[in-house]
């Protein structure tokens, strides 16, 4: 698809502003009714999905041109998909998130780069990671781990650590615990060890760098194929989305599971058992890329046609990615199964969860906005009375930890895996 393919969407936007809120049916309070961090932070209408569609149309009609202000409108957004879910409640043919992605692709292709992203992408090209670290530092979490190295060995399952877990010394334990749990449960699992593991390419894709994404996707698919892998498991929700939703277009046929899905399965099969109680009240944050964006990939190629004069339909029928098929229950099932743990819910959950603030290149380019978005979520978590905010993505966790530390909060931040380990 290209940006031109979304001009009809732009003209069909009715400027209703549903994209700014969580689905209106789900509004439970004034305080936590907003869905889109971008418009909530910047306020000008152009920072909403509807506003960006108008910008697409304005650009295409030559009414406006590339400026720093326009780049800011396009990039000060986490690409979290909240707008997409809210829009599609009533609109069956709109794809606002896809249109916003295509706008970023077009800007990058035409050399309209956001200056703050340039060093990050340069580092990716040189060091194969999105966290501005030397390649040699990747994978310290696995240095002394007794696990197959799939650069030379084969396994049914590959565990992909990813850039955040691969370099973050505080969070590396999540990857280590996940792999150990799966191995101890009898899973034939391995890793692409150390600096040989590559970035998934998903963050580059979200930032508009489609070429970089394709390069990393092809490299990873080749490495896994060589190692005889059938299933890809990751604890990173960004990676999960990338492998599950984006890689199939590059030819990937691997089964993709997030660790929480695998652990949930092992608990239900009796292969993981808990013998400790954790007396704690926690609330769960749905990562955008595991939740509303984590739906099954369904290939579709077709075209628009009209029936009854002007009703827009597709030939063949087009899948609706509206968040309904995201991964919501497995992490909650895991948490509920831990003895002593009480799970309480925030107001904005599942397909209408508020974003952690880290996605779409925002953490890299707009740290204040990223921090503000995380603070909003922590306030929501605090309103539940929970002692801890639990998630299933290292990007979310890093953003929350930084925001908690920056504000002197007492809220604890955990990955689901950490609590599982504590209970065993």
């Amino acid at each position: 698809m290209a940006l031109e393919d979304y001009l009809s969407d732009a003209k069909r936007c009715c400027r209703c502003s549903y994209c700014k809120w969580i689905p209106l049916a789900q509004v439970k309070s004034w305080r936590f009714a907003k869905g889109c961090p971008s418009i909530a932070y910047k306020n000008f209408h152009s920072y909403s999905a509807g506003g960006r569609l108008a910008v697409v149309l304005s650009l295409s009609e030559g009414r406006s041109s590339y400026t720093d202000g326009l780049l800011d409108v396009v990039y000060q957004c986490q690409m979290d998909g909240s707008c997409d879910v809210a829009c599609k409640i009533c609109r069956y043919h709109m794809e606002p998130l896809e249109a916003m992605r295509e706008l970023r692709f077009k800007l990058v292709e035409e050399g309209q780069l956001l200056p703050q992203h340039i060093p990050v992408i340069d580092n990716l090209r040189k060091e194969d990671n999105m966290v501005m670290k030397p390649k040699a530092e990747r994978g310290k979490w696995s240095e002394d781990l007794d696990i197959k190295d799939l650069t030379t060995e084969s396994a049914e399952v590959v565990f992909h650590g990813g850039c955040q877990l691969g370099f973050d010394e505080e969070l590396g334990k999540v990857a280590r615990t996940a792999v150990t749990l799966l191995k101890n449960a009898g899973v034939d699992i391995g890793i692409i060890r150390g600096k040989e593991e590559n970035c998934c390419g998903g963050k580059a894709y979200d930032m508009g760098y489609r070429g970089e994404f394709i390069k990393y996707a092809e490299n990873n698919i080749e490495a896994w194929t060589r190692a005889g892998v059938k299933t890809v498991v990751t604890s990173c929700s960004d990676g999960y989305f990338t492998f599950k939703r984006l890689y199939p277009d590059i030819g990937s046929k691997f089964e993709v599971l997030h660790t929480v899905e695998f652990i949930d399965r092992l608990i239900k099969e009796g292969r993981i058992k808990f013998n400790k109680t954790i007396p704690m009240t926690v609330t769960y944050h749905d990562p955008c890329h595991l939740g509303r964006l984590g739906e099954q990939y369904i290939p579709w190629q077709g075209e628009e046609k009209k029936i009854r004069g002007q009703i827009v339909v597709y030939e063949p029928s087009k899948p609706r990615n509206n968040g309904a098929g995201g991964i919501y229950e497995p992490p909650r099932e895991v948490l509920r199964s831990i003895p002593g743990l009480e799970l309480v819910e925030m107001e904005r959950i599942r397909e209408y969860a508020w974003c952690c603030g880290a996605g779409g290149g925002v953490r890299e380019a707009y740290p204040d906005f990223s921090y503000w978005t995380a603070r909003e979520r922590i306030e929501e978590a605090k309103s539940t009375g929970a002692e801890a905010l639990v998630s299933a993505c290292p990007w979310c966790e890093r953003n929350f930890i930084d925001a908690v530390n920056g504000n002197g909060d007492k809220m604890k931040v955990y990955d689901v895996i950490e609590l599982v380990q504590q209970a065993i």
Binding site: K28, F44, I311
Partner: protein, 537 residues
């Protein structure tokens, strides 16, 4: 041409650089509007503002208006900004986006009112009101809209108007930055007595605000208002079930949704009178007809089944049970009964059954099925799916809008309205929905007695031919409505000169001339945008 540097700097000094912009792309996101295509010869863009300003307080609004007067700039505020009504109609005006003023300042549980700022939306006010056993009137445009705008700046009716009245009827005291830059506090607030009244004990200007269709952003800026709240004996938080997008609400026994039907318009009208006379019903509206009389049953099936899309429409339309349901719904409306006590709901249900028996009506069985009833209940109470107006292709507006007493439906108007649009539907430029998509209030004003219908024209704003067909349908309907003395002026869709031409040789309705006098009196500097409806003699 941009506004002068001096004027821009003066505005920036008021709101700060982060709350003003003249970036072309940002200005175009404001110029982009639903229905602009009718006024702007197919373009989705209204005239581009000179700057957009986001004030954060009444004082800032006042200062901005004074700057506009000093530099001879037009000024127009919008709250949520949905529709061409929110955009300036001349180039280089100052667009005020009120979204920073979004607070619910007070919910007075005991005296049953709320004090709100412009960017509070229906959904958030309702959620907060329900926590204390109250509810708010929701404008028919739905839960994403501003109750302040509904009360001051537009017609403001909705499905619950039978019980809660329309927006202007719910307006209590108001704080108004007049087009002169002065601040006027109306009703009880004007006498320093608080927010509880819009009329007595202080200056009442409710009729001025309301006029024919509200101030429409052309008569100063409303910065705070109090609106009435109503009893809500339901849960403090609506329990939502189901999978997106087919959410439903299963509510306690004292809250029930029905779709009522009749085989004749006479039966329909008799029932409406009896419903008024017996004072039952919390919400009553001819709502789902908006999908078109031939399509409504099939569309409801799609909307309540997450496995279905509009691709299933043709197949569903062939099913006899769907055809039967659409036919049954031809002369129908939705009603929600809310009992304040268990005895109350039993009473209301009994009265309704008696009314149906006396008028030859019935409750449509397919709409009583739990999923459908739960979806209908949620739709009607929260108006959270209102954007389904756009579900077919992204465009709707109305033809042959008409207001009258309940027996309007027996006058032949409903059939005339259906045939007028059906003719255009068969030509393919607009959705061929059967012709009757006449959505409307069973009670457009508090207590009932006032019915109004808008026959939706459903079209594709991304398709120039469809836009042109919709415009032709709308203009044709306008001529018929004018012949019948029933409005149809389509001010917003047409240039003023076009409206004048439509009315050529006819007496202008006096309301427009009175609004012209009001405009001259309250806005001597002409700072207000031309959206406040006036016509020359």
């Amino acid at each position: 041409m941009a506004i002068s540097r001096e004027a821009y700097q003066a505005l920036e000094d008021i709101v700060g650089p982060e709350n003003i912009s003249e970036e072309p792309a940002i200005l175009d996101s404001y110029a982009f509007q639903w229905l602009a295509e009718f006024r702007q010869h197919g373009s989705k863009f209204m005239p581009r503002a000179g700057a957009v300003v986001l004030p954060g307080s009444t004082e800032e609004v006042q200062a901005v208006v004074k700057i506009c007067i000093r530099y001879k700039l037009k000024c127009k505020a919008h709250s949520t900004g949905w529709g061409l009504y929110g955009a300036p109609i001349t180039e280089n005006a100052i667009q005020l986006d009120m979204r920073r003023m979004d607070r619910i300042l007070k919910i007075d549980e005991h005296n049953m009112f709320a004090v709100i700022e412009p960017y509070v939306i229906g959904a958030t006010l309702q959620a907060e009101a329900m926590k204390v056993g109250l509810n708010t009137h929701m404008i028919g445009a739905g839960a994403s809209c501003s109750p302040l705008a509904a009360a001051t700046s537009f017609q403001g009716a909705g499905p619950d108007s039978i019980f809660m009245g329309s927006g202007p009827e719910n307006l209590l005291a108001a704080e108004w930055v007049m087009p002169t830059g002065e601040i006027l506090r109306t009703g009880s607030l004007g006498s320093g007595l608080g927010w509880f009244s819009g009329d007595g004990l202080g200056p009442s200007l409710r009729g001025i605000f309301k006029g024919i269709l509200g101030a429409c952003g052309g008569l100063g800026v409303f910065t705070k208002v109090a609106v009435k709240l109503y009893p809500w004996p339901g849960p403090t938080v609506m329990p939502i079930e189901g999978t997106v997008p087919a959410y439903t609400a299963q509510l306690p026994e004292n809250i029930r949704a029905h779709t009522l039907a009749w085989s004749t318009w006479e039966g329909y009208a008799d029932a409406v009178y009896k419903i008024y006379n017996n004072d039952i019903g919390y919400i009553a509206h001819r709502q789902f007809i908006m999908f078109g009389d031939e399509l409504q049953a099939a569309v409801l099936k799609i909307l309540t089944d997450t496995t279905r899309t509009l691709n299933d429409l043709e197949e569903l339309l062939k099913k006899p049970e769907i055809q039967k349901l659409s036919e049954e719904m031809r002369r129908s409306f939705q009603i929600v009964l809310v009992g304040m006590t268990p005895r109350d709901i039993e009473y209301q249900e009994k009265v309704l059954n008696q009314i149906l028996a006396e008028t030859g009506g019935w409750k449509i069985a397919a709409m009583e099925e739990p999923t459908m009833a739960g979806w209908s209940l949620l739709y009607m109470i929260k108006l959270c799916f209102k954007n389904l107006n756009y579900v077919y292709a992204g465009g709707f507006h109305d033809a042959m809008a008409r207001a009258g007493t309940p027996d309007l439906v027996t006058s032949g108007w409903m059939e005339e309205m259906r045939e007028q649009k059906r003719k255009f539907g068969k030509q393919g430029g607009i959705v061929n929905d059967g012709g009757d998509a006449g959505m409307g209030g069973v009670g457009t004003a508090g207590g009932g007695g006032y019915n109004a219908f808008e026959n939706f024209i459903l079209y594709d704003p991304g398709d120039a031919a469809s836009v042109e067909a919709a415009r032709a349908c709308n203009v044709d309907a306008g001529h018929i409505a004018v012949e019948a003395g029933a409005g149809g002026y389509n001010f917003f869709f047409m240039e003023k000169e076009q409206v004048q031409a439509l009315l050529a040789g006819r007496a202008r309705p006096a309301i427009f001339q009175w609004q012209q006098k009001i405009k001259e009196a309250f806005d001597p500097n002409g700072v207000g945008d031309g959206s406040y409806l006036c016509l020359d003699e």
